[in-house]
């Protein structure tokens, strides 16, 4: 497998790896670290991966092994999470990742119908998690105008869902 193709494959696997690690470790930060280590390790051993038939399964198993090591090393070791390894179904992970991407795409479509100011306000508040004070500074609005803009945007989105 060419390096560029392997890179694309690993990037495509990242959401599934992240979701699996989050389910096992129950920590977004720990999952991010574990996925990062797993992908870098796979990349460093990319010459060995030429003979791997199912790279997705190989990467998933490698991630699970790292999660087991992480759980065993951590002080708050929980056997039920180790038992979760058997219950984390790759197909279910694949479906959940696809559903998440579908929902995100749907929201993109809905937000594209909003006025630009409302779209910016919604993105800052509900996607990036920016505070009201920071939104006032960035948008150059008063606090009342920020609340009013957000309210109008959410009403429009709700109407789109119905």
């Amino acid at each position: 497998m060419a390096q560029e193709a392997l890179l694309d494959t690993l990037m495509a696997l990242q959401p599934a790896l992240q979701l699996t690690a989050e389910k096992l470790l129950r920590s977004e930060a720990d999952a991010e670290d574990t996925v990062q280590e797993t992908v870098i390790d796979l990349w460093q051993r990319r010459n060995e991966l030429q003979h791997v038939r199912d790279l997705r399964a190989y990467a998933m198993q490698s991630l699970k092994n790292r999660c087991i090591s992480f759980l065993r090393k951590s002080r708050d070791i929980a056997t039920d999470r180790i038992e979760l390894l058997d219950t984390v179904d790759d197909d279910a992970i694949r479906e959940e990742v696809a559903l998440t991407e579908e929902r995100a795409a749907r929201l993109d479509t809905m937000m594209a119908q909003l006025p630009e100011r409302q779209r910016e306000a919604v993105t800052m508040r509900y996607i990036e998690g920016v505070s009201h004070e920071e939104m006032q500074r960035r948008l150059g609005m008063s606090s009342t105008n920020v609340y009013a803009t957000l309210s109008r945007a959410m009403s429009a989105l709700k109407s789109m869902i119905k």
């Binding site: 990242q14 670290d33 809905m110």
Partner: protein, 211 residues
């Protein structure tokens, strides 16, 4: 935000945005010329590195006394090796003496020390190459020159001793190649003289015809 479905949409959007950010970071790391051995963001990897360094230092400290001890043992090992070689020399010397005594029996000698055995072996057992070496002798075969004067009948060999044919190379000399040279008949000599215009008073040499 009260609408649950809308909450799910925003959660999915946040997840995909976070994954895009992670993918960008990962791609940047993997595309770099030297992939770092450990991710820089990872906060929990420092115990691994610290443990590795500590283990390496401990291994070195544990190994150093052994190295010094081995260095002290080295002369002992060398001495043991010298004794072993001396023992082998002694055995070889005794075997050599026994061989010589078998060939040329002499009164048995009694050696009281290894040095004596070795000295005796050097004096008696080793052959003197300068005095005993002789030039190899090769058998020589004398080939008498056959030269006939005109009208002279080749003299028969004084005895019946075989003579070597001239065209026979020395490497082919053996009993089968040795034949007796018969005297040339006078009629044949006259025929040769008339055929090649040789005067009768000129000495006729058979070697001219490369017989």
């Amino acid at each position: 935000m009260e609408n649950k479905e809308l909450q799910e949409l925003f959660a999915a959007k946040r997840t995909t945005e976070a994954n895009r950010r992670r993918q960008a970071e990962l791609r940047q790391q993997l595309e770099a010329a030297a992939v770092p051995a450990a991710p820089a963001k990872s906060r929990r990897l420092w115990p691994v590195w610290a443990g590795s360094i500590a283990a390496s230092i401990a291994l070195v400290l544990l190994t150093m006394p052994g190295l010094f001890r081995r260095a002290g043992e080295q002369p002992v090992l060398v001495a043991e090796a010298g004794e072993a070689i001396e023992a082998i020399d002694t055995i070889e010397a005794i075997e050599t003496i026994e061989t010589i005594e078998t060939i040329n029996p002499k009164p048995a000698k009694t050696f009281h020390s290894t040095a004596a055995v070795l000295a005796a072996a050097e004096e008696e057992a080793l052959p003197d190459l300068e005095t005993e070496t002789e030039e190899p002798t090769t058998p020589t075969i004398e080939v008498p020159a056959i030269e006939l004067a005109d009208n002279a009948t080749p003299e028969p060999p004084a005895s019946n001793a075989p003579r070597i044919h001239r065209r026979t190379s020395t490497s082919m000399v053996n009993s089968s190649n040795i034949e007796t040279v018969q005297p040339m008949p006078s009629d044949f000599q006259n025929f040769l003289a008339s055929a090649f215009g040789t005067e009768t008073d000129t000495p006729f040499n058979l070697t001219t015809f490369n017989l």
